[in-house]
Symmetry: C2
Amino acid sequence: MSNTMPWRDRMRVKVDFSNMMAENIGERGIRDIDFSEAFENCSYAVTQTDAARNAMRWRDLHSVQSDVLPEVKRIAERVRRSYDTFVVLGIGGSALGPIAVQQALNHLHYNSLPAETRNGPKFYVEDNIDPQRMSDLLDIIDLRSTAFNVISKSGSTSETMAQLLIIIAALKDAVGDEWASHLIITTDRERGNLIGVAKAHGMDTLYVPDGVGGRFSELCPVGLLPAAVCGIDIEALLDGARYMDELCTGKTAGNPAYTLAVLSLLAIKKGCNISVIMPYSDSLKYFADWYAQLWAESLGKATDRCGNIVHCGQTPVKALGVTDQHSQVQLYTGGPFDKVITFIGVDNHRANVCIPRELTEIPDIAFLCGSTLNALLDSELYATQYAVSKSGHMNLLVCMPEVNAFTVGQLIMLFELQTAYMGELLNIDAFDQPGVEEGKNATYALLGKRGFDDKREELERASASTIRYRV
Amino acid sequence: MSNTMPWRDRMRVKVDFSNMMAENIGERGIRDIDFSEAFENCSYAVTQTDAARNAMRWRDLHSVQSDVLPEVKRIAERVRRSYDTFVVLGIGGSALGPIAVQQALNHLHYNSLPAETRNGPKFYVEDNIDPQRMSDLLDIIDLRSTAFNVISKSGSTSETMAQLLIIIAALKDAVGDEWASHLIITTDRERGNLIGVAKAHGMDTLYVPDGVGGRFSELCPVGLLPAAVCGIDIEALLDGARYMDELCTGKTAGNPAYTLAVLSLLAIKKGCNISVIMPYSDSLKYFADWYAQLWAESLGKATDRCGNIVHCGQTPVKALGVTDQHSQVQLYTGGPFDKVITFIGVDNHRANVCIPRELTEIPDIAFLCGSTLNALLDSELYATQYAVSKSGHMNLLVCMPEVNAFTVGQLIMLFELQTAYMGELLNIDAFDQPGVEEGKNATYALLGKRGFDDKREELERASASTIRYRV
């Protein structure tokens, strides 16, 4: 690629979907004519998503936070200056983005680096309530030098609030009256339980903007503060999102998110109820987890916008290249034609590692000597695409020139927009999650929360489980 | 459960499949009569798997390694005495078992513990060839005090051998002539590339027994050495496998692996091409990865034993409770009826964590105060089972009294036997992986390995990819 091209354009994330097409993989692929027709007919997805822009506040986060960024940076600087360890208390959308971005952009053994070479304080995201996990965390951190970022829009997320109560008591033990200064709250500006607490104790507070749901929140303070604390260039992250948004606004031609959405729709129509995401880079391993929430929770819906029962939604599957070639590729080549595999490839890795000429007495591995891990990884990605395609299974490649804050920002916006378009194409609300209420209410009932007596009775009636179905 | 019961029986892993049944979840479930009929008709799976016992050497590992265990322990003691860090170089079956068992049975922040409270040396499993990963590992370990366990049955696994060449050169730099003493080889006793190297340099060597494929190898030295190095009770692990094997040998009634296999078959017939495994314990998080390889690579097959084209195989999906309630449960309750969810519950976690009475000014969270994380986790598991069942989706529960070496040994054998029975029921070879050859050969061709010229020409012909499918 030409070096005279502007840097942002050289860093453009691209999509190669040749291996989705019948032309390349045979009859199980998509015919060119069907793709062209769908590409034309589905354009309303772009029009309507653009028209609803004001309701989709997540889409503008790259350009509306000029007031917010100085505050994010101020708090980040305070944490970096005053604390050795930074812990996010959050779950779901409050955790997956921060984890993904940290893994993508920092050292893979960040926490094990000595303080002087690390990019910031040690970083943990506690996104579960497993008692061993909390106990084990408290074994290894020093509360006196640890700051906690509590992230919950509503301030009523049971898991996060339970963690918070434990941490408040532990901080009171460890630092006495100073406990509140160790807490940073990210929550709704007005509603919710946390804002009162934060104000009463003068805690640093950041806000989740209206219209930004959990799984679309990585580019608001939910994700920006943890990233900034760990030394990540949050402006470049936002600039990447802006760049991708520009590529996708007001047009279908050259719009990679729209192209992906059309391909997904056609694949679903061909019986693919599974969407595998398989980055070939350890740095993007947890990006797959972030994607899995976005795709599953947005598109897995029982009813469409008209109230028709549809039970739609592809199941996302996380894989990692080349590791999972030794775990999943037998299934991907030999198994059913029920999945699309989205490979993510990286042109330039952050390290180059040569494979030295050792063990030259073994002829079988002579081809490795003098090569690089980079070349081996690239070859395996290409070879796997080839094998999956030859077996007639649909797959596509998202190409990243590098993994940096700008390209990661693009990737976030790319998949968020693909998801929004898919909501239009499936005629569902991609931004709600009614199916999680039942489990939440049942938890409240089991734990005796006031107002859930009826639900508790319902659970008791149902619990007369049948002994003959146990072994 | 009665405390007068023998310990091993109290530690028995059980299965509750009430929520697979129409009786409990409605018409999408399995009718009692269909289950009974299948349970009777499929019994040949047990008979034939038992009859093939001698060919399935993985099944007897709990009882045939009395000669091997002293050598495993001797090497483990040497490592524990002489090294601060222990690194496994391996991929797929050589990595997923060691990772799963370590996560299950040791501290969740094992490597961050101070040496005096840690159960052994720091532990890393390098199961990818990402150049940044290798580079980042070398940043944080001290080669002079690091031992490497190279695990490759054939001694020709490209990824592992590439890593080995890099590590040999690095060790020569760091410790000179002593380099070979830092390497421990786990490989085939006679065939393969590594055995000659190991002998020539007097390296400690352990053997992968014949008839034990990668994904069934955790209970042979592949898994036992890493576990022993990290202070895990490998005899209890093997005893757990023996206990489960006894429950499953020679009978269908009371055989939990057979019960799971019959349920899987019926679920597949009802259109479930997805198998979700969702442990409610961080300690079992990577057990899901181990399971994903076992299930995918064993059952994802293009042809059956008679050569008929079948393209069978469920796609395994890894989830973690409660974390993924905030990511996947919307899909599991609202989405298609295309999956079975296997929850894994734990009766007694290794820690009990109380939720203190703090922030009592917030009425919404009063129900949490005075409870425990344990109760919250249990309630959320039950509530999620309830919500998934109420939405008509099949799910079952594997119940572990505790997560300890004995119960983890049971879990390994339970799923291995379920997989073997499924091979019989689907009439496929559950122990081969022909579908990975294409990708391997293409990699060899791309990297110029001798003897792969034809494949390279084939690849060149195919690579004339079409620019119009890029965006």
